[in-house]
């Protein structure tokens, strides 16, 4: 279709935005190719939401410029709004209204006449598995249903660019998978998706390219493969039976893998990256060899896992500081309990 332009969906240069003394965006550059899922990965407070709000015309940047499909987000805000939709981190539908009413309301605001708006609302509810909940107030929806009505509201007029701000934060694994399936279907239809997330796993699953954001700036950009190559494709987590054996285990790991080994706050746990650029073995072969080494040295391993590097590990590798300062992380863990 003619409205699918060939240029990039988003071009942002040097975006800056401060709230009081906090620099939420500090020279953010971003180029998002059209027709793909683009992941913006970063911890809380990295500036992800601010970036999305600027690009969706909700906030004026203090500096820099941004174009969406060639339209300036400030000077041509209306042209941008005609082509984008935003599903924010918090409910962006009216919680007092029912699911059906919300979709009819938005359909009417987009210019559909009442019968057409109702028809569109009903078919969207059906496609998102919400027909039974159509006449229930949104505040009575579960977290997963709320996300789905939010996304359904965003595709009332199939947008050319869809912003999804942390679409799976706080969802259970099943609801998360449902959202992922929806995102895949949306992008298969030619809509560009910009997705912010705190989970490398999620960005890896969905995104063609990822920008890692920290302190309002992009600190790394590339395909998931490129990013993981720079970080190591996997992480070995070990829990030893005996805390006294940890120093020896650490030394063994460091010589075998030739990477830094992270000692966890838990005195029997340690973590190391495997499968990085420097090795000719893949992650699982390296992990297997390490396990053998440990067994021969008489170190008892109670628990072993090989997984993708966490956001924390990506951040450690890219910035030499964890995604969240340790004291804050403890607070978050406390709060999550």
């Amino acid at each position: 279709m003619s409205r699918r332009s060939t240029g990039p969906a988003i071009e942002a240069e040097g975006l800056a935005k401060s709230f009081g003394d906090t620099r939420a965006l500090d020279g953010l550059d971003l180029t998002v190719p059209a027709g793909t899922v683009y992941g913006v990965l970063g911890p809380n407070g990295a500036g992800k939401t601010t970036a999305v709000r600027v690009l969706a015309t909700l906030l004026r940047p203090d500096g820099g410029r941004a174009r969406v499909f060639g339209h300036d987000v400030i000077a041509e805000a209306d042209a941008v709004r005609a082509r984008v939709s935003l599903t924010g981190q918090y409910a962006s539908v009216d919680e007092d209204l029912t699911g059906l009413e919300n979709l009819i309301l938005l359909g009417r605001l987009l210019g559909h006449r009442k019968p057409a708006a109702r028809q569109r609302a009903e078919s969207l509810l059906a496609a998102f598995g919400l027909t039974e909940a159509a006449d229930r107030q949104v505040k009575k929806y579960s977290g997963g249903m709320r996300r789905r009505i939010d996304i359904a509201a965003s595709i009332l007029n199939t947008p050319d660019l869809l912003f999804l701000d942390e679409p799976t934060t706080g969802l259970d694994p099943r609801s998360r998978n449902q959202v992922w399936e929806i995102v895949r279907a949306v992008v298969a239809h030619g809509t560009t998706v910009l997705l912010t997330t705190q989970y490398l796993d999620e960005a890896d699953q969905l995104a063609g390219r990822i920008a890692v954001v920290d302190h309002g700036r992009v600190i790394a950009e590339g395909t998931p493969g490129e990013l993981k190559a720079s970080v190591g494709s996997g992480t070995v987590h070990l829990r030893l039976r005996d805390a006294h054996q940890r120093p020896e285990a650490e030394r063994l790991l460091r010589t075998a893998l030739d990477v830094p080994v992270q000692l966890e706050p838990d005195p029997v746990a340690l973590t190391a990256r495997v499968g990085g650029d420097g090795s000719d073995l893949d992650a699982s072969e390296q992990a297997a060899r390490v396990l053998g080494d440990l067994a021969r040295a008489g170190i008892v391993v109670d628990n072993f896992s090989l997984g993708q590097p966490s956001l924390d590990e990506v951040f450690l590798a890219l910035t030499d500081h964890p995604a969240v300062p340790a004291d804050e992380r403890d607070e978050q863990l406390e709060a999550a309990r």
């Binding site: 909700l58 005609a82 919680e95 209204l97 009417r108 595709i155 298969a188």
Partner: protein, 285 residues
């Protein structure tokens, strides 16, 4: 988050499995309708306000119970002292208390907007390609319905207590019409504060600080003739005084062209000044 795998209540709901086929039907880009006109967009937002009243009817408490209390309280408190009897006082007082109650209710516009914005639904509205003020105009349309309701409730109570307007039905309708026009305009003061102030509580605080002097330092309760000169000067320019004088005149079958003109001038000024300030803040948030 704590979850307990062993507690399940009721039958498990059917699990939603996204189907690529169903999704692709709704994703097929259909023809995009032209954007709605400013009026149509505003009326749609007004419909949203009606739906909210339908789902949360308790919110009508402030436009029904509050006005009734106001009328009863002041009629019997001041009636004997200020006039020969509550019934006599009511002939003078009812238009004034109607204005006071409805103007006080306008502050809920600001409180409502403030909570709406907290919840994030305005983010969605602000990314829609519609006439920008529509969301706020529509919201105030919904509030206008509440003003009419409050005015009718007060009129009803007044009639029961013995209020007999000489202006008849037309006079009463005219009075309510003037009041609604003014209240619509005055609501823009609160949309501005609703956007500028950080919390619902501070909106409430500022509203009270503005509304109490404005409504009490007027001709609502007594004739200004007995007041000291400096107070009379304030009472004279107070828009509430003008509004009450014009409503009183129309309801009693007379007319007060000067007050009516000033009421309309004040209304226009509120819309122009605070409407502009509101939209400036709304676009910049």
């Amino acid at each position: 988050m704590s979850s307990n795998a062993t507690t399940t209540t009721g039958p498990a709901p059917t699990v939603y499995v996204p189907s690529a086929e169903a999704l692709s039907t709704v994703l097929a880009p259909g023809a995009r309708p032209p954007r709605p006109s400013p009026l149509s967009a505003s009326l749609t937002f007004g419909w949203r306000a009606m739906l909210k009243i339908k789902h949360v009817p308790e919110q009508l408490f402030d436009v029904t119970a509050f006005p009734i209390i106001m009328v009863l309280m002041f009629t019997y408190l001041f009636g004997g002292a200020l006039a020969d009897s509550p019934r006599d006082y009511l002939q003078f007082f009812l238009p004034g208390i109607m204005v006071t109650s409805v103007v006080m209710i306008t502050m809920y516009t600001g409180i409502g907007l403030n909570t709406d914005i907290e919840k994030g639904v305005f983010d969605r509205f602000r990314t829609l390609p519609v006439w920008r003020p529509a969301a706020l105009v529509g919201m105030i349309f919904g509030d206008v319905l509440r003003y009419v309701l409050a005015a009718v409730v007060i009129l009803g109570v007044g009639l029961v207590l013995g209020f007999r307007p000489d202006g008849g039905l037309l006079g009463v309708l005219g009075g309510i019409g003037l009041l609604v026009v003014f209240s619509f305009a005055f609501s823009w003061v609160w949309t501005f504060f609703g956007l500028v102030l950080r919390s619902e509580k501070s909106v409430m605080g500022v509203s009270m600080m503005v509304l109490f002097p404005l409504t009490f330092l007027s001709n609502v309760f007594v004739e200004p003739a007995t007041m000291p000169g400096w107070l009379q000067a304030f009472v004279k320019v107070n828009p509430i005084t003008q509004l009450v004088a014009s409503v009183r005149a129309v309801m009693s079958g007379a007319s007060d062209p000067s007050s009516t003109m000033w009421t309309l001038v004040w209304s226009a000024a509120f819309v122009v000044v605070f409407g502009t300030l509101t939209m400036y803040r709304y676009n910049r948030r």
